[in-house]
Subunit: 252 residues, 2 copies
């Protein structure tokens, strides 16, 4: 019996690079084909949802399963393309597991770009952008996003801030204790482009902190009395931002 393929979170959704349109067909790459046939046990007639970040979400039927590849034939568009709010996450790279985690969670929390930023106290000197992108794609497939966050090339702290687009407000989670509570700092601010910056395990160094505080587009905020890990702070700030100024702030 044909069925809608599902995972614990709901219908199976796959991100593809190919154009999507009515009455077209496409062949999945090796990984996705393997996933459909060996993990989900897909058979001809089963259906999945596809999105490519540009043309919405489409229903697709498994047309053929061979040893190496699954071919899908497209049905109707199920959702028109929608984006996420214009919020970047600029983060100092952390170790592999927390970086995987933060990439997945930030994607679920609706970030538009993840920007690795190299700071003085960075413990991790290199980031695997392909791995970050794979994590972002997996999270986007599962959470119903129609777009993948951009994973930007790493930039140094100073270079990033020197070239900063001044109209984009930048939330700095300042642990020094002088910043206003996040909810107060964001209340009544404009909905325009925003970003959040978080430091490495050991935090920003004093010079970096001073630099951030003097920049006109920086909005220092406090996330309470506990010293959170960088990944916790990033996700907490993102949740509070979405709630105050992002797309959680509209009644459905």
């Amino acid at each position: 019996m044909s069925q809608d393929l599902t995972e614990p979170g709901g219908l199976t959704r796959l991100f593809v690079e190919a154009p999507l349109g009515a009455d077209s067909a496409l062949t999945l790459d090796e990984d996705q084909s393997h996933y459909l046939t060996h993990v989900l046990r897909a058979r001809p007639g089963d259906t999945v949802r596809l999105f490519n970040g540009k043309e919405g979400e489409w229903r697709a039927r498994v047309a053929a399963v061979t040893k190496r590849a699954v071919t899908l034939s497209l049905g109707a568009q199920t959702l028109p393309q929608t984006g996420v709010p214009d919020i970047w996450l600029c983060l100092a790279p952390v170790k592999r597991t927390p970086l995987d985690y933060i990439t997945q969670k930030a994607t679920e929390l609706g970030v538009s770009r993840i920007q690795p930023v190299m700071t003085r106290r960075a413990i991790v000197a290199r980031v695997n952008l392909d791995r970050m992108r794979a994590n972002a794609i997996e999270a986007a497939e599962q959470c119903g996003r129609l777009s993948i966050p951009e994973i930007a090339e790493p930039a140094s702290f100073e270079k990033l801030l020197s070239a900063w687009p001044g109209e984009r407000q930048l939330i700095f989670c300042d642990e020094a204790g002088e910043a206003p509570p996040a909810a107060d700092a964001l209340r009544a601010r404009s909905r325009g482009p925003w970003a959040i910056i978080t430091g490495p395990e050991g935090g920003f160094d004093p010079a970096e902190r001073s630099r951030l505080r003097e920049l006109p587009f920086v909005v220092p905020v406090s996330l309470g009395p506990r010293i959170m890990r960088a990944d916790t702070a990033a996700l907490a700030a993102l949740a509070v931002w979405q709630s105050a100024l992002g797309d959680w702030n509209f009644a459905p």
Copy 2:
């Protein structure tokens, strides 16, 4: 040279069960002794901070290091005892790694109790409470908390709700799309006792959802258009709650 022992996040803090007071001494257990001597390379004269959840935070000096144990002599109290807001997290158990993660993050985010709740679609039938407690202690040590969240015995969904203390408001992250945005739902609510409930990987089943919606102490909220994993939803709801009604909402 004697030194304050530190980790990437700051001064080394240890949770102990023993009473803490001026001019007393205590011997650390095997794990903590091993950590101090073999990981942090502590030597006599070095200092750490201790807390026990009841008597604040104290400076303690390494008095003796033997093969099996480290003895500390207590100095001055560095912080008086403080608690966290009265917010529980009731969560359906998830797999080991996400459960470790959520326990750590919820501790950093200032939860007072973590209550495992068994729901119909639960994939994980047993929880390791000792492991949860170890994760909570590690996170509390690192984030500067002076208390460990209570890790409660698992309860069934129905039993938990039947015996619910009615004055404790319960946030239900309702993905069905009819709930008001979290910020709107929490605005102007009282600061009294609160809790958050989140489901397992596959969500609550329809009967559980109906049950939650009919209870007078339940506050359904929406966390935006994306379907978050249970652990992401829990942390996001906790951040938004702390920001609106918890201890992030006071200027320092």
